[in-house]
């Protein structure tokens, strides 16, 4: 049993959805391009089952493209991407839920109906879908906002709903694209703690793209620093205290700060 799973049993929480089995992501020699534009070259990356891998890299280097490749929304031109052993796009799609860079909540649906989209797509009746998504609303601090229109929600709330929508899909792998980029520093720190708690309670394999090195190191088990386009992994760093309950203590710890400095250095080197 993976570490996080043991932890949530110890905390006595019940899994949110009927906890999908742990699934690993494995990328070997990956290459991708948009026509002439080479986005990714000879990229290797492993995310073990229920592990969180952070990706940081200069803007425009191909991070979103990489998440789309993992999720089965794009096809590589070289190398392979496997999710739970499946290399075909169909197989990857069924195993991955992709949270796009912008929240993309549908303005014509209430918060709960947005969160329940995957259930509805799988044929659940509206009442049943709302009931199931509603359980997550209560667990993740959104109780009372079920009927709210997306426009009525604050930035942090919108990101929570968007994340729940991804979680509700019940996929073993989450591809999260800069989930908190649009938030102010304080809300963002809150949301990181929130996501850390969510992943302790309901562990998934996560590939997390962010441009915030501290966020990557706090939320991930391991952080891969990408080069400028075409993206390769220039350095991989082990996070000192992944998803520690006390975030402030964790990120100010000297060990954490040292790793963060190394990551920054690698990022500048890769970008230069």
């Amino acid at each position: 049993m993976p570490a996080e799973a043991r932890e949530f049993v110890a905390e006595g929480a019940s899994p949110a959805t009927e906890g999908p089995p742990g699934v690993a992501v494995s990328i070997r020699g990956l290459g991708h391009s948009y026509g002439e534009l080479r986005t990714i070259e000879r990229l290797d990356l492993e995310a073990p089952a229920h592990g969180v891998v952070g990706l940081v890299g200069p803007s425009g280097c191909g991070k979103s493209t990489l998440l789309e490749l993992i999720s089965g929304l794009q096809e590589p031109v070289a190398g392979e991407v496997e999710v739970g052993g499946a290399g075909d796009p169909r197989g990857r799609l069924t195993r991955c839920a992709y949270m796009p860079q912008r929240d993309l909540l549908l303005p014509w649906l209430s918060a709960i109906d947005n969160a329940a989209l995957a259930l509805r797509n799988r044929g659940a009746r509206r009442r049943a879908a709302r009931r199931e998504a509603g359980r997550l609303f209560e667990r993740f601090g959104l109780a009372g906002f079920e009927g709210a229109a997306p426009a009525e929600l604050s930035g942090g709330m919108r990101q929570r709903v968007a994340f729940l929508r991804t979680l509700v899909a019940g996929k073993p792998v989450l591809a999260l694209d800069e989930p908190f980029a649009s938030l102010d520093a304080i809300t963002r720190a809150e949301m990181q703690e929130w996501l850390a708690a969510a992943l302790r309670a309901d562990p998934r394999t996560v590939v997390l793209v962010t441009h915030d090195v501290e966020e990557a190191l706090y939320l991930s088990d391991r952080v891969a620093v990408l080069s400028a386009r075409p993206a390769r992994v220039v350095e991989e760093l082990q996070a000192p205290s992944p998803r520690a309950p006390d975030r402030d203590a964790a990120v100010t710890d000297p060990g954490f700060v040292a790793v963060r400095e190394r990551a920054m250095l690698a990022l500048r080197g890769g970008a230069g």
Binding site: N121, A151, A169
Partner: protein, 251 residues
């Protein structure tokens, strides 16, 4: 009545008032060197509206039917065509430029041909109305469907949506306000189409009545027909705007 209507209402009242004064004093007729009876004042038009109310109503009903049926037909076919063109890239490439180019054909002037083909009945009018309504509906709806954020489509795919579910839950709602814009433009031109259709050959309808009035120099009643036609167009436009506000609540 809300404040935002106050100013336009004042402007309209002022214009009608000015017309009343200019027409009843004979100033317009004198300037244009016309007989007085050719320049009816608003009060005379109002009187004519009242005196000819059943005649106007009968003919308005004919024109309204042409407008509604023609518009309804264009709406159904136009929305359907927009969806098909959205789904099939090949069809869109093949036909969209032709649809746009077809707008340079002055559809209204083919009305006489249609009358020759289909006679004096309602057929040619429906065809004209439907033809001129079709374009704004197709083009606007297709624009709306194509304005969908590609990331939203990708998100739906990873949330296990079928093609149909993505259409129903994302694409159709996105396109809805665009479709309403198209329909509002269409309903305004529909009235014009119906009148031209009647001018090309008919034995009833407000357009037909206007031709008679013109021949008999019944200018007040001619203007009364114009008033009724405008009222029909405004009412239909208003109904669509109302429906839009009811349905597109998220804007």
């Amino acid at each position: 009545m809300s404040r935002r209507w106050l100013l336009p209402a004042l402007v309209l009242a002022t214009m009608v008032g000015a017309w009343q004064v200019a027409a009843s004093s004979g100033a317009i007729a004198a300037t244009l060197r016309l007989e007085d009876f050719l320049v009816p004042a608003p009060s005379e038009i109002a009187a004519s509206l009242w005196e000819n109310r059943s005649l106007l109503a009968d003919n308005a009903w004919v024109t309204l039917q042409e407008v509604l049926l023609g518009f309804g037909f264009a709406l159904v076919v136009g929305l359907g065509a927009a969806v098909v063109l959205h789904l099939s890239e090949t069809l869109r490439r093949a036909t969209y430029p032709l649809i746009v180019a077809s707008q340079t054909v002055p559809i209204i002037v083919i009305a006489p041909i249609l009358v020759v083909w289909f006679g004096y009945g309602i057929g040619p009018k429906l065809a004209i109305v439907a033809l001129i309504c079709f374009f704004p509906i197709v083009v606007n709806t297709l624009d709306g469907l194509r304005s969908v954020d590609p990331d939203a489509t990708k998100m739906m795919r990873t949330l296990d949506a079928s093609r149909w579910q993505t259409f129903r839950r994302v694409e159709a709602p996105t396109a809805l306000p665009y479709a309403f814009s198209g329909a509002k433009i269409a309903v305004a031109v529909a009235v014009i189409g119906a009148v031209f259709g009647e001018w090309a050959g008919s034995d009833s309808g407000l357009g037909h009545l206007m031709l008679l009035d013109n021949a008999q120099l019944e200018t007040a009643r001619l203007f009364a027909s114009v008033v009724v036609l405008s009222a029909i167009a405004i009412a239909l436009f208003g109904l669509l705007a109302l429906a839009e506000r009811r349905i597109v609540t998220w804007r």
